[in-house]
């Protein structure tokens, strides 16, 4: 009985007893539902670092929102969305009309954007404000923020379901999609919109610097568990959920910052997946007799 009580106290009690922990958990679940599949597609399109660049790129928009309305998620989110989309579209435009590759144009735009964002915050805000924007405050998430995150996750799932077929074709064989008149650019832009939206959803909780953490780490970990695309997307959602539960619990019991703890939990799951996943290194190295044909 006492063991059960200990397990309950260590895992479930914080969420049962405290509303802010429940809201943080729901935020993590909602983030994982939207960011997980988007992260898997980013990884498969070899755009993992573009996701990282985009997460930095939303900073100036968030900073302007912060200057105008303080720590208001709708204002910061809207600012982040506008600037993030502008960076995504400009980078795409530069790479499609010149010889500069997409990752290089993303790098130039996000560095400019990051520097502008830090400058804007430092003009008016304190270093504490800057830390809020950079690292997020998942334990301070309110009802409105939850609705926004849940809304973005729902929109992500619906839009992904609608454009799943051409998006997969665009990733796998873009030349074929163009040849059959599939308007690949449109789906690419819609996909970038989803990336930016999910980063905006993530930055209130994890900050602009780590919002991409719950997008990419679960996606990469999922690669060690599933071989099909739907399987990878589902695994990424599950990993994000587990990282949220574990990270929030560790943060609650030890008093360390919640955002980085959640991302580090996702890193831990990634490491375990790399070692012991269905397609992980240990299982591959286990000597098993080969088959006859």
């Amino acid at each position: 009985m006492s063991l059960l009580t200990t397990v309950y106290d260590a895992t479930l009690a914080p969420f049962v007893d405290f509303g802010f922990m429940r809201r943080a958990l729901v935020a993590c679940i909602a983030l994982g539902l939207g960011s997980g599949p988007v992260g898997v597609l980013l990884m498969l399109r070899r755009m993992s670092l573009v996701g990282d660049a985009m997460s930095h790129a939303v900073l100036p928009g968030a900073a302007v929102g912060f200057l105008v309305a303080g720590l208001s998620l709708p204002a910061m989110g809207l600012g982040g969305l506008i600037v993030g989309l502008a960076v995504a579209l400009l980078s795409g435009l530069v790479s499609r009309t010149t010889a500069v590759r997409e990752d290089a144009s993303f790098a130039s735009f996000y560095l400019t954007s990051l520097a502008a964002g830090v400058l804007i915050v430092s003009l008016k805000g304190s270093s504490v404000d800057l830390l809020h924007v950079l690292f997020g405050t998942i334990l301070a998430i309110d009802q409105d923020a939850l609705y926004l995150i849940a809304g973005i996750s729902s929109l992500t799932l619906v839009l992904l379901a609608l454009i799943y077929r051409p998006l997969v074709m665009e990733c796998f064989d873009p030349g074929f999609l163009r040849a059959v008149g599939g308007r690949g650019h449109l789906y690419h832009v819609l996909f970038l919109l989803l990336v930016v939206l999910n980063l905006v959803a993530g930055f209130q909780s994890l900050g602009t610097l780590m919002a991409v953490g719950l997008m990419m780490l679960p996606a990469v970990a999922a690669r060690f568990w599933a071989v099909s695309l739907p399987g990878m997307m589902f695994s990424a959602m599950l990993v994000a959920f587990l990282a949220g539960v574990i990270g929030l619990n560790i943060s609650f019991h030890t008093g360390v910052a919640s955002g980085p703890t959640i991302v580090l939990s996702a890193s831990g799951i990634y490491l375990l997946s790399f070692l012991f996943g269905r397609l992980g290194i240990v299982r591959q190295r286990l000597s098993r007799p080969h088959l006859a044909g």
Binding site: C171, G175, L177, V180, L229
Partner: protein
Amino acid sequence: MSCPDPKGAPIHLENLTITYQRHPAVHHVTGSFEAGSLTAIIGPNGAGKSTLIKALTGTMAASEGRIDRAGMSASRYGYLPQAAEVDRSFPLSVFDTVAMGDWHRLGVFGGMKRQDVARALDALDKVGLGGFEQRRISELSSGQFQRVLFARLLLQDAPVILLDEPFNAIDERTTRDLLALIRHWHEHGRTVIAVLHDMSQVRQCFPQTLLMAREAIAWGATEDVLQEHNLRRANMMEESWREDAHTCAVHEEART
């Protein structure tokens, strides 16, 4: 296929020029691929063969001249891209890859009905991959993967079929089987155009040939095109662009 084969359509090129950063990859090419013809496009590396195929698919714009597709939309053409342009590590099953060939029927939202599934499985059977439908494409050999792309073409059921280096890095048996499919398409009146490098293959299987070296060196019956003097002329093409090149005289003439 249970439905009758669609008849091939002609394609006429009129003074077609396609450029990269103003340098021509295809230069003032004029001529016709007749309806139902089987044509090999050959030429040295950098001769503009793949660029021409991409222009025929409608994915590369002409800098000058035009392509007359006799009223048919380029999106109805069947297209096999070069193997290097396809991401074979993508987590897709063989069936899902073949099913992409049904795009013009299903579009973005259409669901596959029982007969669509049967057609996709039938296409896999025809390329000798029956029973492979649930395999991952990353588990296939180069030859098997090329068979999958041919099954996708079968499902496209297109009147015009464009193949960009279809036999690169695949074994003799697979090449023989896929050549038989190409012959079948030709016999049933489809227009087939393939970029190739193997001259003996071209001599044996392709009645028409377009020899390119950016411009069309020769275009017509294969035995006439593959003359020594034509091949020598094509091989004299400079592979790289001349940075000091002047504006094209034909272009200037047309403007004045």
